[in-house]
């Protein structure tokens, strides 16, 4: 460990108490002697991630730290095993500093629905501002300089949006690339583990460490398909193209739909790409306008199933007084869920009851298939899962969009948006307008800060499985933005 590396790590560790008291980023911080011990152990590992500090979102299981999902329901829960991603990180030599604050059970896009209070945005020193969610603390831990990188989870944008708001890189890989074993499920057909870091090489190093088949995860992308994707990528690399075909989805880009600053930034970025010789095309994806209702049908419905286990018997802090209330089992225990979780459980059950199942849930599933097919129709890289026909010559290499619709708001401003009668607005759901379609199709996507220390992100999207090319092209974009 060289002396400048040691000093840098020490400086990072020294900032933790100040950062934590101001921004509420962590739900658990490891004792300093344990961190030092792990740093020493990690320094002997010959890996790009040794001598680095990282943080892990609090819905990823760690056997030596609590895993609370920022919920009262799991406030005293410690997992008996490590998630696969945690195991791989430990083997790589990085040191885990702690578990990060988040929206409860990953349900939220602002970072305000935590049992431990909101995680605030370190970019804003004077006004308490949201970090975005649900991986709010993970984004904050990177942008505040405490850690070199952090893990989050991304179901509908929960890595990309907080990364955008905190002006760091946020990568969500193709669904199935990174193991979900040990990740507390919110919506299992959408959940992915994501990576946040302050530089692209670090994102790549972490992704290369975690991008492995895991037989413990039944949705893990098989070795055969990974090899097939690699073969296709290598063949395409041989063409040696330096200029790419980039699509802009014609969706929600008008003046009234997206914040003017974000819009201006995005147009400026496209101008830069055109001057570099890349080809820009408008793209129509007719099913994209249904993405939000599709997501808010499927995700809460899956959450109903995944959160059924929190009854105080299998998991969860059991109510001391009663198990049955008003003929409802475990309702006293389950009242420990926060308000947003409860709202989504009610919505999820509505979508699954017999009166709505066909019209809501099945329709949403059908629309999801439609959206996946539409993406397949416009990308040049083939989708190895669907085997839909791709257009190798005229298809697109990537898509670009803004990451967020708005700039992050102050906590007070958001509190005012609640109804006078205490009802909640669905405005928060709109934050994920650009990120949700990507999640529904399981595509890889990276948010890149448009300007240094500004909460504006540009989302780069690739075809399913084409993660390495997304990261490689991003390297060119990041250099341009410098």
């Amino acid at each position: 460990m060289n002396s400048s590396g040691t000093r840098t790590i020490l400086q990072r560790l020294e900032t933790i108490p100040i950062i934590q008291s101001k921004y509420n980023i962590f739900t658990h911080v490891e004792p300093i002697n344990k961190i030092n011990k792990n740093l020493l152990k990690g320094s002997t590992v010959n890996n790009p991630l040794s001598n680095t500090l990282c943080a892990v979102k609090d819905n990823i299981a760690t056997n030596d730290m609590p895993t609370t999902c920022s919920s009262s329901m799991l406030s005293n829960y410690q997992s008996p095993f490590d998630a696969t991603v945690v195991k791989l990180l430990r083997e790589s030599g990085t040191t885990i500093v702690g578990k990060t604050n988040m929206d409860e059970f990953a349900m939220g896009s602002l970072g305000i629905h935590s049992h431990y209070g909101p995680a605030l945005n370190p970019l804003f020193h004077d006004v308490d501002t949201v970090s975005g969610g649900s991986s709010s603390g993970s984004a904050g831990s990177v942008t505040s300089g405490v850690v070199h990188f952090a893990l989050g989870t991304d179901t509908g944008g929960s890595v990309r949006l907080p990364a955008c708001y905190c002006s760091v890189l946020g990568f969500k890989g193709s669904y199935g690339r990174i193991s979900r074993f040990g990740v507390v499920s919110f919506a299992q057909s959408l959940d992915t583990v994501g990576i946040m870091a302050d530089n692209l090489q670090r994102v790549k190093d972490v992704f290369n460490t975690l991008d492995k088949f895991d037989k413990k995860d039944p949705t893990s992308l098989s070795e055969d398909l990974r090899n097939e994707i690699n073969s296709i990528s290598k063949l395409r690399e041989k063409r040696g193209r330096a200029k790419f075909r980039i699509g802009i989805p014609k969706f929600n880009l008008s003046k009234n739909s997206v914040n003017e600053t974000i819009r201006t930034c995005f147009i400026g970025f496209l101008d830069t790409l055109m001057k570099q010789g890349h080809e820009i095309f408008p793209v129509e994806l007719p099913s994209m306008k249904y993405a939000l209702p599709v997501y808010y049908t499927i995700a809460p419905s899956e959450a109903v199933s995944n959160l059924a286990r929190y009854d105080g018997i299998r998991y969860g802090t059991r109510d001391e007084k009663e198990d049955i209330s008003n003929e409802s089992f475990f309702s006293s225990t389950r009242s420990k869920f926060g308000k947003e979780v409860q709202r989504r459980l009610i919505l999820g059950n509505y979508n699954l009851i017999s009166e709505s199942f066909k019209n809501n849930f099945l329709k949403a599933q059908t629309l999801r298939v439609s959206l996946i097919n539409e993406f397949d129709n416009i990308f040049s890289f083939p989708n190895v899962l669907t085997r839909n026909q791709n257009d190798d010559i005229n298809g697109l290499d990537f898509l670009l969009s803004p990451t967020s619709v708005n700039l992050p708001k102050g906590i007070d401003e958001i509190a005012k948006e609640k109804g006078y009668d205490g009802t909640s607005s669905t405005n928060e759901y709109m934050n994920d307008l650009f990120t949700i379609p990507v999640s529904l199709a399981g595509l890889p996507a990276l948010t890149i800060p448009a300007k240094k220390r500004a909460p504006i992100g540009i989302q780069l999207i690739g075809q399913y499985g084409d993660d390495q090319n997304v990261l490689n092209f991003a390297e060119k974009l990041v250099n341009e933005l410098k």
Binding site: S79, P80, F81, S189, K216, T219, L225, I248, F251, N252, L253, S254, K255, N256, R263, I267, L270, D271, E279, F281, P282, V283, S287, K289, L292, P293, V294, T297, I298, V304, D311, Y315, E327, S328, F329, S331, S332, R334, S335, Q342, R343, I346, I353, N360, K363, A364, T366, R368, S370, I372, N373, E374, I378, L385, G395, D421, T423, T426, A441, Y464
Partner: protein, 179 residues
């Protein structure tokens, strides 16, 4: 008898279905002026009068109580009017689904909702031999991290302290705490 609102909603659903169209790549944008022109176009959803979402009526108290029970949430101290309002707002968002008609499928291809999962769409059918090989492999490669124990089964009653006539009394939780 349907209420006037229900008739109106049924009319909107019948006349608001969107004809499915495949995704398209438009002509290349050659200048930043063309990009700005693209961005200045109003969003389709705001100008197309055929895309109207039926307005959601307030969910009934009976429905809310049913949903609370299904969710395992308490109804005793629940603010039913607040839940009704919240659910109504959420359903206003979701009801946009009803403007889509699955009959107008993409290029005549029927959409199968089973393909919604991000997993291989066509899978190879297991043969009897492959199935037996998988079972044998699992027997020989137990993973304790998955709770796969040596004798192949979980002793459901090992934590009991009292039993009589086939009835067992549990005095401990089912979850081991890792110690």
């Amino acid at each position: 008898m349907l209420s006037p609102r229900s008739y109106r909603n049924a009319y909107l659903i019948a006349h608001s279905t969107v004809r499915f169209a495949s995704s398209k790549i438009g002509p290349q944008l050659r200048s930043i002026g063309e990009v700005e022109q693209l961005f200045s176009q109003p969003d389709e959803i705001k100008t197309d009068p055929t895309i109207q979402t039926p307005k959601q009526s307030l969910p009934s108290e009976e429905l809310v109580l049913k949903l609370l029970k299904l969710s395992g949430l308490p109804s005793k101290c629940a603010s039913i009017p607040v839940i009704q309002q919240n659910l109504s707002k959420q359903l206003d968002l979701i009801n946009k689904l009803h403007t889509f008609s699955p009959e107008n499928s993409q290029d005549g291809i029927k959409l199968d909702p089973n393909h919604a999962r991000i997993m291989p769409r066509s899978t190879h059918k297991l043969t009897y031999k492959e199935l037996m090989e998988k079972i044998e492999y699992q027997k020989q490669n137990k993973d304790p991290e998955l709770g796969e124990v040596e004798d192949g089964s979980w002793n459901a009653t090992e934590t009991t302290s009292i039993s009589r006539n086939g009835y067992f009394v549990f005095r401990h939780g089912f979850i081991h705490d890792g110690n």
